[in-house]
Amino acid sequence: MDEVDLEVRRGECVGLLGPNGAGKTTTIEMLEGLIAPDAGEVRILGLNWAGEGRALRQQLGVQLQETRLPDKLTVIEILRTFRSFYDQGSDPEWVLDLVGLRDKHQARTVDLSGGQQQRLALACALIGDPAILFLDEPTTGLDPHARRRIWEVVESFKARGGAVLLTTHYMDEAEKLSDDILIMDHGKVIAHGSPSEIIHSLNAESVVSLRVKGTPDAADLQGLDGIRSIHIEGTQMQLSVMQTDRVLPVLFSTLHDRGLALVDLHIHRPTLEDVFVSLTGRRLRDE
């Protein structure tokens, strides 16, 4: 892990975006006081983990990756247990309303769906009325509807003035929730800024993805005007492009000259994923 500088303001969310193994969980667990840094120190809200841990924990809400809450306990029993850990906090019933589990409050955890279990985990993180909420891959493995419900809860927390630190390998999640994004890879921050700043750093108006019959070579397109970056994977090419309307005709004729027949073509506005690909040559979801 290299040095990471983070600023999370009230009412804002900072997203750590990167593929699995990028060091996001290590970073967030260092901030949560679970892992001691090899060098340097972690200060949150002006408090240091060494010596002020308990006071600090009173102010934090944490959802960990892969926690399984006790199967045989009901939603409300679990929430009351977590409430008892905090000097000050919210009423369990109110938090259940917040995460949309009011009608499930007598249900056992084992009977909840994946999305409901994850919202219960979120409720446990929110019960102490935290100033900062740490979310580690909060929607991994959930269906689109369940993911949206989690996002709503996070956004309402931000709207009440809470600060959020999020890790995710979903670019849509990072883009949707974060005001500030750090893209990480191999323990390093490789891009930092607001979602639009990061996307603008590509300096491209659109991303052209195409598949051809034959073996494309980056050198064939290197000199063409308006092409910012080229990424080739087998017969698949991804180009970051400025002035798309001018580039496309030139691109087509070049492919034609090289004897590469076009099979498939997509043009889209650049996303965070495209930035990651152009920076690392890999996709976020590559395992």
Partner: protein
């Protein structure tokens, strides 16, 4: 693929699943052999299975004492007074007891498997006496009073075994389960006091204890007329010490284990010797004398011995102090070690 191949593959799959589960292999093959070995030592035919016969008092010099000592298949043990000999008989350490009176008085319990055998051997030994006419006729006292039956021996043993099993499983299994599911890790990022967490484990254990002891003792005393001679308070203290000691052991074995499967193996490994040696179902005096000091070190032996003496013999604090000290030391050592080693993640 033929039907035969299908059967072959499925059988192979099942066998491999079994063989690659070392625990299952242990319980299926190694455990029965081990059990047979241990029981073999306890019930071995040491010279056509000697029965242990007590003689009271030590100073008895009547000719029948010598005949008993000469007789095959009888091991004579002398006692100072009738009370301690009767206790030994009750706890299963003796199969029969002969008291030196005008005519020798034989005490035995026909409800015990070896009771009748002991009676036969003693009678034969005394009748085979060469002096013939002088041979004293034996008086026989059949022990039927409660406190000396096998069930009286069994109830405290079962209680002790239960305290061990629930203590070790109850404390250990739950903790490893919570660790495996990362719940312990989540707890540590909240302001939860770790001392409160551990205290709750012990407190919940003690609450269960009340019901557990209550049910077993009530069952024995009211339904099976097992006597309860000692102080209820001392008995309760001894139970609590036992429960704490086994909670400590449970905490210790679970302090680092990451998976429930892993800790189950360790728990069985820890419990098995006590289960076999500590006098749950039969007295550990059946094992060779040389093993006794080792067996007495086991916490379950201390618990069982104490429970039996308080319950059946009305023993007071002085008589169970060694056992209580054993349990206290075991509690202290296991708790200190467990807290040192405890892994929250």
């Amino acid at each position: 693929m033929s039907r035969f191949d299908e059967l072959r593959q499925l059988t192979r799959m099942r066998l491999l699943q079994f063989v690659r589960e070392p625990e299952a292999v242990f319980w299926t093959f190694a455990f029965p052999v081990l059990l047979a070995l241990v029981l073999g030592v306890a019930f071995s035919n040491r010279g056509s299975q000697d029965v242990r016969v007590g003689v009271v008092p030590v100073s008895a010099t009547a000719p029948w004492v010598a005949s008993l000592q000469r007789a095959e298949g009888i091991q004579v043990v002398f006692f100072e007074d009738i009370a301690s000999a009767r206790n030994k008989l009750r706890s299963g350490g003796l199969s029969a007891l002969v008291e030196d009176r005008e005519r020798p008085l034989l005490h035995f319990d026909p409800s015990r498997p070896e009771g009748e055998l002991a009676r036969l051997r003693v009678e034969q030994a005394l009748q085979r006496e060469p002096k013939g006419d002088d041979a004293p006729a034996i008086q026989v006292k059949v022990i039927t009073e409660t406190g000396a039956r096998y069930i009286d021996f069994l109830i405290p043993g079962l209680l002790g075994m239960n305290l061990m099993a629930t203590g070790i499983w109850g404390s250990g299994f739950g903790i490893v389960d919570m660790r495996q599911k990362k719940l312990l890790k989540l707890f540590t990022v909240t302001p939860m006091r770790r001392s409160a967490f551990l205290a709750a484990q012990i407190l919940s254990r003690l609450i269960f204890l009340v019901a557990e002891v209550g049910i077993i003792v009530a069952f024995g005393v009211f339904l099976l007329s097992v006597p309860f001679h000692g102080s209820v308070f001392l008995f309760a203290m001894h139970c609590i010490l036992g429960a704490l000691c086994f909670s400590g052991i449970g905490l210790l074995v679970s302090s680092r284990a990451r998976t429930v499967e892993g800790v189950s193996g360790i728990m069985n490994f820890v419990m098995l010797p006590m289960w076999l040696f500590s006098g749950v179902f039969f007295s550990y005096e059946r094992f060779p004398e040389a093993f006794h000091p080792l067996i007495q070190l086991l916490p379950l032996t201390a618990l069982n011995d104490g429970l039996r003496r308080i319950m059946l013999e009305g023993e007071t604090l002085g008589g169970v102090a060694v056992e209580m000290a054993n349990l206290s030391v075991c509690t202290a050592v296991t708790f200190v070690l467990a807290l040192k080693l405890f892994r929250w993640r």
